[in-house]
């Protein structure tokens, strides 16, 4: 069995990132000797990768870890008769700070890495062609220089019905339908089939444009690359411009209805980046499917909105649902926009 020890140590050294370049070369040569060697290595990697994925998915009890590991380190420092008490204290403090800093940064990196993996799962799920219906709730509106005001139609824009209570239907490929209600309870509908965008006011002609972004300003987010109508693009932006963390949610915090665990991904905007200050995504821990999104201080013209989008349905919509013709009577006048 002794001859097997060296390859085993090489494999374990590889798993722990502890091999020198020469040892790595040795491992590579050993793998090439026989297909069984490659298979042994592959099986070790399978366990190693699952260990990482399983443990990284748990939130680290950071404070507990930090104190316990530092206590252990402190125990190893005492008793040097050559050092004065001041020097010992200084050295101990330096080692503690160094250890703390090392652990802090490594924990931060690991947690961020795990959060990025979670976001990747959400992104992959969002790329499905599945239709989703969200209800929009405007929790708060802050207008710069003029203080807070209640959830009202957007100021300094052509008067439109409020977003609060609107229904947003999305499908991959930039397709969306946004239905808002006027004060009279009439629908004001905007949307896009991915090739042209359109707006149906309660009166007047239906406006249709070959520019798919023509009516984007009806929803916040397009100014800062976090468009609500294109989940995939918005989620990619979170990877670039936001610091990410995630945690598990108990059933008392979010009930998924199917017994699945829910998780919360929190994205906090980095300095100098544009977009909402904070984005919170509640998602299904198994599928990565979005259940609820919350955007805090989302820029919208002169306003900053706190918005919540709650998943209402994932039922398939009809194939022509994102065509304007599905939302008005056939003889309605159509006006092409330039």
């Amino acid at each position: 069995m002794i001859p097997d020890l060296v390859p085993c140590e090489l494999i374990d050294g590889y798993l722990d990132d502890a091999l020198t370049a020469d040892q790595q070369e040795e491992l590579s040569t050993w793998i090439k000797v026989h297909p069984d060697h490659a298979r042994t290595f592959a099986e070790a990697m399978l366990l190693h990768d699952r260990l990482r994925n399983t443990l990284a998915a748990y939130e680290t009890p950071v404070a507990m870890h930090r104190s316990s590991t530092i206590e252990s380190r402190r125990g190893g420092l005492g008793g040097s008769w050559l050092m004065s008490s001041v020097a010992r204290t200084t050295a101990a403090a330096a080692v503690l700070i160094l250890g703390l800093a090392t652990l802090w940064f490594s924990i931060g990196t690991q947690t961020a890495s795990a959060a990025i993996r979670e976001l990747d799962r959400i992104i992959v799920n969002s790329m499905r062609s599945k239709d989703r219906t969200f209800e929009i709730v405007v929790e708060d509106i802050t207008t710069e220089r003029r203080g807070k005001r209640s959830a009202m139609p957007e100021s300094q824009r052509p008067p439109k019905p409020p977003l609060d209570g609107a229904a947003l239907y999305v499908r991959s490929g930039n397709q969306f339908v946004l239905v808002r209600k006027t004060q009279e309870g009439l629908p004001f509908v905007t949307g896009s089939n991915g090739q042209q965008s359109w707006a149906i006011n309660t009166r007047g002609p239906v406006r249709v444009s070959a520019d798919v972004h023509c009516f984007d300003h009806d929803l916040p987010g397009h100014e800062t690359s976090v468009p609500l109508t294109n989940l995939h693009e918005g989620l990619q932006q979170l990877k670039v411009a936001y610091e990410l963390t995630f945690s598990a949610l108990g059933p008392e915090e979010y009930e998924t209805g199917d017994g699945h665990e829910a998780r919360l991904l929190i994205a906090v905007k980095k300095r100098k980046e544009r977009g909402p200050q904070r984005v919170e995504i509640v998602y299904d821990a198994i599928s990565g499917g979005i259940l609820r999104m919350r955007f805090v201080q989302m820029p919208y013209g002169p306003d900053r909105l706190d918005l919540r989008l709650s998943l209402v349905s994932q039922d398939d919509l009809s194939s022509d649902f994102f065509e304007h013709t599905s939302h008005h009577v056939p003889d309605r006048k159509i006006e092409e926009e330039n």
Binding site: D12, A18, S28, A42, L47, R52, R73, T102, S106, M127
Partner: protein
């Protein structure tokens, strides 16, 4: 379309542990690893309509993974800590041959991890949760890097044996 997508997700869920382990084996930077794996999962979903159900799905997905990994490695070929192309190919073949029975066995890891206690649990968490190498773990716990490395090796052996026990138990019951 939706049914096809659901099927792609089902297949991918089964193949993903093997593909992920293959990527982890040859892409050492864990941020890059996540990016490569994401690119593979997107490519798998996009190409699913061309998948021939007569072929094993994992082998088909591994073909896509090999292409993505190949692109990644070509950009970093001067790094001596990356396996050469021949080794990467041999590993891809080895991963393709891992069957579903083996990947299902690994599912027992959760039960086995729950049995880890004390120092073993702490070492495991520092290595896998906090991504610390043996030298860093050793300096935090007052152990030599070699002792940490040996301990981690033992812990992985214990977990492997525990998984085998669970698998044998399940095999005996079914």
């Amino acid at each position: 379309m939706e049914e096809q997508y659901q099927q792609a997700i089902r297949y991918w869920t089964l193949a993903q542990p093997v593909v992920s382990a293959y990527v982890a084996a040859v892409v050492r930077d864990f941020r890059d690893r996540d990016d490569v794996l994401q690119a593979i999962s997107v490519a798998v979903l996009e190409a699913f309509s061309s998948y021939d159900p007569a072929r094993p799905f994992t082998a088909w997905a591994m073909g896509i993974a090999r292409n993505q990994v190949g692109t990644y490695l070509r950009e970093r070929k001067r790094n001596r800590l990356i396996f050469d192309a021949e080794t990467v190919d041999l590993l891809a073949v080895a991963f393709e041959q891992i069957d579903s029975v083996q990947t299902r066995k690994i599912d027992f890891l959760k039960e086995c991890l729950a049995k880890l206690e004390g120092r073993a649990r702490q070492l495991c968490e520092l290595r896998y949760q906090n991504d610390l190498k043996p030298a860093a773990i050793g300096s935090l716990l007052g152990m030599t890097p070699n002792t940490v490395a040996k301990s981690l090796q033992r812990i992985r052996d214990q977990l492997r044996q525990c998984i085998e026990r669970y698998a044998a138990l399940e095999g005996g019951q079914s």
